[in-house]
Structure formats: structure tokens, C-alpha cells
């Protein structure tokens, strides 16, 4: 998010903001509004496909559900650490803020890794975007699953990079590059994440551009705005989890 051009601390020059808060937060809220409509449309597309294909498969057994529940708990806990980080930022305790943000990133990364393992397992079982072993006549099952969770995973990844930039600034770049290398070397060449991990490299390039073109110290506002984004990612999962996983538990 760019720097706001108006400094509202100068009292009396501008009308009070209609939303009673600073521009960056409003900007992020508006972005989240549009993003929730995007995710909403994806979820509606999923539901549409599901309604018009009555023989929808329900393959998720105990293992998948437990895994997904742990992932959900990770995201919820990351929201808690995030909000505690914002609280610390309001109180001006920047060392604590960094620790809370790192904890948030840890939970987020754990979510991504668990989800990646889940994906690899499903792909190994024969699920692709255009078919699945449980109901071959309903190709939408794989398509919607990978689209929805893939979009969400992309958002989580962006969120982790965003928080990393806010927490560690330029020191985060080498970390990100190392993570990319580890991810790239650790995944087998036929795994989808061997390709997908390049998102980290793109993220590193973009965040390097941002930090070198607009260097700044991130204040409590930036942390609150980053927190809004992070909680939104959590919020979206609160709908994807029941719709995609829980409604497809194995009978």
C-alpha cells in the first residue's frame, strides 16, 4: 500500500474522514471487500457445480479431516498471534511486535506445508483438476478443490511474505531466497510445488522492489493493516473448510 498523501494530523485542513480512520486502513478494507467478492464468486461457482452434479464424491476420511482441522487450528492461532502483535504495536513495543509477527508467520508457514502435503497425497491418489478416482463423471470435484484451496494458499503465501517484509524488512529477503531454494530442492521434480514454490522467488523480487524503491520504517498502522489482510485470509478459510472438506467427509 502506498503512502497516504494527506497527513491527517494537521487538524482542521480536511473534513474528518467519513469512516473515521486513516486512509491506509480504509484502502485495505476496500481491497478486502473486493477480494471477498472474488472468493465469494469462486465459492458460488463451486456450489453451483456441486448442485448441478448430484453424484458429488465425498472422499475425505479421518486422516484428511484431522489434517484439515490442524490446519484450521494453525490459522486461528496465527490470527491470535497477529492480533497480539497489533496490540503490542499500539503500545509501542516493537521488539514484541516482531516476535508476534514471526509466530504468525510460523503458523502460516505450517498451514502451507500441511496443505502442500495434503495436496501431494490427493494428487498421488489420482486427483487432478480434470478427474478424480472417486467419481470420474464429476470432474468438477478436483477442479473446484484445487482452484479454491489454491487461491487460498496463494493468499496465505502472499500474507506470509507481507508479514515478513513488515517484521524483518530487508533482512527478510535472504530468508525468503533460502526458503525458496529449500522448497525447490526438497520437492521432487514431478511435484506441483516444485513449480509452485517459485511464487516465493517472485515474492522476493517484488518485495525487494518495494523495499528499495520506497524504503520506510513500518509503524503501528502498517502492522494493523497487515493484520487486516491476515485475518481476512483466516476468515476465508472459515468458509472453505466446511464447504470443501466437511461437506465431503466419507460416509
Amino acid at each position: 500500500m502506498a503512502e497516504a498523501a494527506v497527513h491527517h494530523d494537521v487538524a482542521g485542513v480536511y473534513e474528518p474522514s467519513l469512516f473515521g480512520t486513516y486512509s491506509k486502513k480504509i484502502g485495505m478494507w476496500l481491497f478486502l471487500a473486493s477480494d471477498s467478492v472474488t472468493f465469494g464468486a469462486l465459492l458460488f461457482a463451486y456450489s453451483y457445480g456441486r448442485i448441478s452434479n448430484p453424484s458429488w464424491p465425498t472422499p475425505f476420511g479421518k486422516e484428511s479431516i484431522i489434517n484439515a482441522t490442524i490446519m484450521t487450528a494453525c490459522l486461528l492461532s496465527s490470527s491470535l498471534t497477529m492480533v497480539l502483535g497489533v496490540l503490542a504495536a499500539h503500545r509501542g513495543d516493537m521488539a514484541k511486535v516482531r516476535n508476534w509477527l514471526l509466530a504468525t508467520m510460523f503458523f502460516g508457514a505450517a498451514f502451507i506445508v500441511l496443505h502442500a502435503i495434503e495436496w501431494s497425497k490427493l494428487i498421488h491418489e489420482g486427483m487432478t483438476p480434470f478427474t478424480n478416482p472417486w467419481a470420474p463423471s464429476v470432474p468438477q470435484f478436483g477442479g473446484t478443490f484445487f482452484t479454491l484451496t489454491g487461491m487460498h494458499m496463494l493468499h496465505v503465501t502472499i500474507g506470509v511474505i507481507y508479514l515478513g517484509v513488515v517484521a524483518l524488512r530487508k533482512k527478510f529477503l535472504p530468508v525468503l531466497v533460502v526458503l525458496w531454494l529449500i522448497g525447490w530442492l526438497a520437492t521432487p521434480a514431478n511435484n506441483v510445488f516444485h513449480l509452485g514454490v517459485h511464487v516465493l522467488l517472485i515474492g522476493a523480487v517484488v518485495s525487494a522492489m518495494v523495499m528499495f524503491l520506497k524504503p520506510k520504517i513500518y509503524d503501528s498502522h502498517d502492522i494493523e493493516v497487515a493484520g487486516l489482510y491476515w485475518h481476512f485470509v483466516d476468515l476465508v478459510w472459515m468458509f472453505i473448510f466446511p464447504l470443501v472438506y466437511l461437506m465431503s467427509t466419507r460416509i
Partner: protein
């Protein structure tokens, strides 16, 4: 004019409570779904209600919307909720596709 560093009447305890509530609601969802307590349609309704409660908790407490001014609360939520609600019109067609038996 903007009370930017507004320290809301927020405390750590409140966040821990919300976090606990979210975890418990998730647990309830998982148990209900795994034990197949309801028929799928009712299950969907129950899960959606629980998810909406969770979403409301996240928005109100974690995203601090509860502490914003009423106009912002109302405008943002009205826009998003209305937009998502009217997309439900899609389903009329999805049901029709089933009834007509198209490939």
C-alpha cells in the same frame, strides 16, 4: 481529528477468549460433520450458521470492526453481504440444470 492511536477497550484476555471460542466452534463443526448428525442439506445449514458466527467473531474482534465508527461498520458489511446474497440467484439455475437432466 482521527484518534489514530486509539487504544480500544481491548485486552489480551478478550483475544484469548475469542480464540478459544473459534477453536471450540471449529471442533463442533468437525464433530458434527464427521459423525454425520444431520442429512446433508441440514448439515450445510448448520455448518454455514456456525461459520458465519466464526466469521463475525473474526471480523468484530480480530479485525477490530467492532471498534470502528457505525457508518464504516454498516457500509462495509452491507455492501459485502448484499453482494454475496444476491449471488444466491445462481442456484435457481443450478437446480434447473439438475431437473432438466442436461449432461
Amino acid at each position: 481529528m482521527h484518534n489514530i492511536a486509539a487504544i480500544h477497550d481491548e485486552s489480551k484476555a478478550q483475544y484469548y477468549w475469542v480464540w478459544g471460542a473459534l477453536l471450540i466452534l471449529t471442533g463442533i463443526e468437525v464433530v458434527l460433520a464427521y459423525e454425520q448428525f444431520f442429512t446433508p442439506v441440514h448439515m450445510l445449514e448448520v455448518l454455514m450458521v456456525l461459520s458465519l458466527v466464526k466469521a463475525a467473531l473474526i471480523i468484530a474482534y480480530f479485525m477490530h470492526l467492532k471498534f470502528e465508527i457505525p457508518l464504516m461498520r454498516f457500509m462495509l458489511m452491507a455492501a459485502i453481504v448484499a453482494c454475496l446474497c444476491i449471488m444466491c440467484i445462481f442456484f435457481a439455475d443450478a437446480v434447473r440444470v439438475v431437473k432438466l437432466g442436461l449432461p
